[in-house]
């Protein structure tokens, strides 16, 4: 006959050493006097189990932190049952249940039965039953083709472009720059007017930027800012002669998706920036470009400013050189005269990338006084906007900018971590 139950490791221990409650009663009857809890704990193994059962069965009671023997049981059913099970004899169901509950006895499952049949054979899997029954000693494990490559699993991963942007963000924070945030939809006021771009300037041409159909007009900021900007355009501020035209607030209220990151810098300057201060932003920008391998429908710019009374053009070149080295791993930089309506002196930053060769990294300049004065800033402000998408393409190893926003899951799954 095959036994249905067997002793657990704990059960086997008690079979040999006696149940803890039995040992406690034995100790008390031997000493013939109450014993402190502390002393009993020292002498009896698994004392807490012993105490629980001895009290429950009414053999022992607790008084003033001492244990007093109440009666000596004639027989201890559980102890007898353990012996019977060890001999594969029948025991009552109620006793069996108590022992199972006490985890001294366990059911021998069908799995174990099956496992027993494996003795002497070659097995595929190591199972918990083989381990528990110890039968693993009596089987042979079938060798695998360990040289075969494992089955594909797809890790959860960041998008490579975001990984790149996170690295850039981290780098700028390390260099002491604070991150700026601003709205996707801007008024022309912040996108153009506050940057001293005349309302009839060709750069504000309809074809160069998006405009909104709905909602069409936003609100202008505080009167102090608006009036200063109007003055800068119409008659000039800080010894400037201005653009000399009639500035139209209605035009400045028109809404558009931001066309460059510079609007964030303007907003930062307008609302009490730290001086000295260094700020950056990674900005999603929108322009109605013809879409091709070099022009995506949306792109990111790395925008930045530095403000301090002491700053000058030489410092601007210094910051640009640092950024080119830190971000683009450039070995050499070159500065080329450039034009932006909101900066003067302006420069283009080109740098020699170890693999790509000379690349145009972005535009920069010192904000015109016609930009900074109306926003309440008298200290020089160095400003730049770097095109980081080209670098991202290089890092990720793609040559079509549209793949930065790749919609191909297979490709994403195959991408390596950006370092």
């Amino acid at each position: 006959m095959i036994a249905k139950y067997r002793l657990t490791e704990e059960g086997k221990g008690y079979l040999k050493e006696g149940l803890p409650e039995k040992n406690l009663v034995k100790l008390l009857s031997y000493l013939k006097k109450p014993v402190t809890l502390e002393e009993a704990n020292k002498k009896i193994k698994n004392f807490h189990i012993a105490l629980k059962w001895a009290i429950e069965k009414g053999w022992v009671k607790k008084e003033d932190k001492k244990l007093i023997l109440v009666k000596i049981p004639k027989k201890i059913e559980e102890q007898e049952a353990l012996e019977k099970i060890a001999k594969e004899e029948e025991v009552s169901e109620s006793l069996l249940n108590i022992l199972i509950q006490r985890k001294l006895v366990e059911k021998i499952s069908a799995e174990v039965e099956k496992t027993k049949k494996l003795v002497g054979k070659e097995v595929l899997h190591l199972t918990p039953e083989l381990i528990k029954t110890g039968l693993w000693k009596k089987v042979k494990f079938k060798p695998y083709n360990v040289e075969a490559v494992g089955k594909k699993i797809y890790a959860g991963k960041r998008h490579p472009y975001n990984q790149f942007l996170i690295l850039i963000r981290q780098k700028l924070v390390e260099l002491g720059f604070k991150e700026m945030k601003g709205p996707t939809i801007e008024t022309e006021f912040w996108n153009f007017d506050a940057l001293y771009q005349a309302q009839d300037h060709p750069s504000r041409d309809w074809a160069m930027t998006y405009q909104l159909k709905k909602p069409k007009f936003g609100k202008l900021p505080e009167k102090r800012i608006v009036e200063n900007v109007r003055k800068a355009h119409e008659v000039g501020v800080s010894r400037s002669i201005g653009w000399q035209y009639r500035w139209d607030p209605r035009k400045a209220m028109q809404l558009m998706p931001r066309a460059h990151g510079t609007c964030l810098s303007a907003r930062t300057l307008a609302y009490e920036p730290e001086i000295p201060g260094k700020y950056f932003a990674i900005v999603r920008c929108y322009r109605p470009d013809v879409i091709d391998a070099m022009h995506a429908i949306e792109f990111n710019q790395l925008e930045g400013i530095a403000i301090d009374e002491s700053l000058n053009f030489r410092n601007l070149l210094g910051i640009l050189e640092m950024l080119a080295k830190e971000i683009a791993e450039a070995k050499e930089v070159r500065f080329i005269p450039d034009y932006y309506p909101f900066t003067e002196c302006s420069t283009q930053l080109s740098c020699k990338h170890p693999q790509l060769g000379w690349i145009e990294l972005g535009g920069a300049g010192m904000f015109r006084e016609e930009v900074t004065y109306p926003l309440g800033i008298k200290a020089p402000v160095l400003a730049w906007g770097l095109g980081i998408d080209r670098l991202a393409m290089f890092k990720i190893g793609i040559d079509d900018i549209r793949n930065l926003f790749s919609r191909d899951l297979e490709w994403l799954r195959s991408q390596k971590v950006i370092l």
């Binding site: 709205p183 939809i185 060709p202 709905k214 201005g242 460059h260 429908i297 003067e344 899951l409």
Partner: protein, 565 residues
Amino acid sequence: MAEESEGDFVMPSIEVSYKDLCSLIGKKISLEELRDAVLYAKGEIERISKDLIKIDIKDSNRPDLWSAEGIAREISGRIKKAGLPRYEVKKSKVLVEVDKRVSKIRPLTVCAVVRRLKINKAVLSQIIQLQEKVCNTFGRNRREVALGVYDLSKIKPPIRYTTVKPDGIKFVPLDFKERLTPREVLEKHPKGKEFGHLLKGFPEYPMFIDSANEVLSIPPIINSEYSGKVTEKTKEVFIECSGFNFKFLIPALNVMACALADRKGRIESVKVVYPDKVIFTPDLKPKKTFVEIDYVNRISGLRLSGKEICDLLEKARYEAKLKGRRIQLLYPAYRQDIMHARDIVEDAIISYGYNKIKPLAPRLPTIGGSSKIEVFSNSVAEVMIGLGLQEIISYNLTNKENLFKKMNLREEDVVEIENPVSANWDVLRSWLLPSVIEFLSNNKHVDYPQKVFEIGDAVVVDETRETKTRDERKLACVIADNKASYESISSLLDSLLTNLGVKYKLKAVEHPSFIPGRTAEVIVNNREIGIIGEIHPSVIDNWKLEVPLAGFEIDVELLSSHPRD
């Protein structure tokens, strides 16, 4: 500011002959030297094919640089320290009479005469090119400036600037053979079709016409074939600029007159008689300004002496005289871009050479930091990838069909673009789930299960804001799998929110994008922050997908402001 200026501003791109350019500079310089020298004119050589060089001029505010003459002027200044170019203006007997009838249509004109010209092919192409660039870029596509150049020998002054009825006098427009009425010119001539809108709605059109009743042109549309055509045989020209504002007209005229003077032409002024005043144009007297030595040094970061600054500015074609700590300056009349001392500093340091300045990174005591929402978004993304999901990125631009129709939703207010490049991208997304499902619809051939998420911005209409809109940072997640179910997506959400330390509740709701009875609102702090459920089979079908989808979208910003338990 962008890596590519052409995306930012209208950047004039011009073609010049290498030989012609060298002869204007007065010195043969190698192509290699030229590459560096054009930087003085904020130019960049785009392409060289034989003798023809294509140059991008980055300064959209200096029409004087948009020709071979202008570039040569700038280069020869720097290599020869040529100083202020002087342009002498003699008086001509040519008179232009401005009829008050133009005052409501195109009220202003300024004119010039240039004689003793020797026009060859290169000169002719420069005249045409400069005229086009001045009108299109500086003149805002002829709206602000229309500039015409005529063969003066064919004109009998005095010239009248007057108006004509659409069915009035017939003439042969440039490059045509038949005589047309002004109305027909607007209808049939390519330039009439292109620029006719500038005269739309006016009962009469502006016209230059001479004393022999020979038509010169209908500005801003087209010249006549008879006098409005300049050829290699032309020896003397009449130039007119018409528009609304002397601020644009005078620089445009000066730029053209000076370019022709650089070709050894002799400039003569024209008497322009308005009903209420008489002016003589062009006026090429140099303009006066000044700059302080300290200012130049403070802005540049250099330590230049007054003499050195004077030399640098002479190279930039100023006349500079040191007077104490100040430098008194004269600069040519073709420049209209100098608004502030800063502009003068730039000219000086361009002469100095940007690359001779030793860069010096400032040491500012600042503390860096990422924005809170980016830091939080990153933490959310970390948990999501830990749960085995692939991050995706989408454009924020999309269309209403994706946002609403394919999601079984009725159209709501969204941010709409007036001038989209394509109808596929004419609104900004107001939620992210459609972007994520669209992604899945692009990847039907790829191994399932597919589990993806996106953290990005949605833009919603919000009347209370300055920009009438608000960005919302969202997280959307969808699993596509035979076994995708409410159970699987809700345990993902639970794991995310538990790991972020957010206590939440799910409350059954109905939403047209999801299966009824398998949709819930995500509630945090008694506030709805998102939605979760099994995607409705008809939505799956709309996206031409054939696999069950379960997903959620929650507001990351609301999550980040929630106090952790």
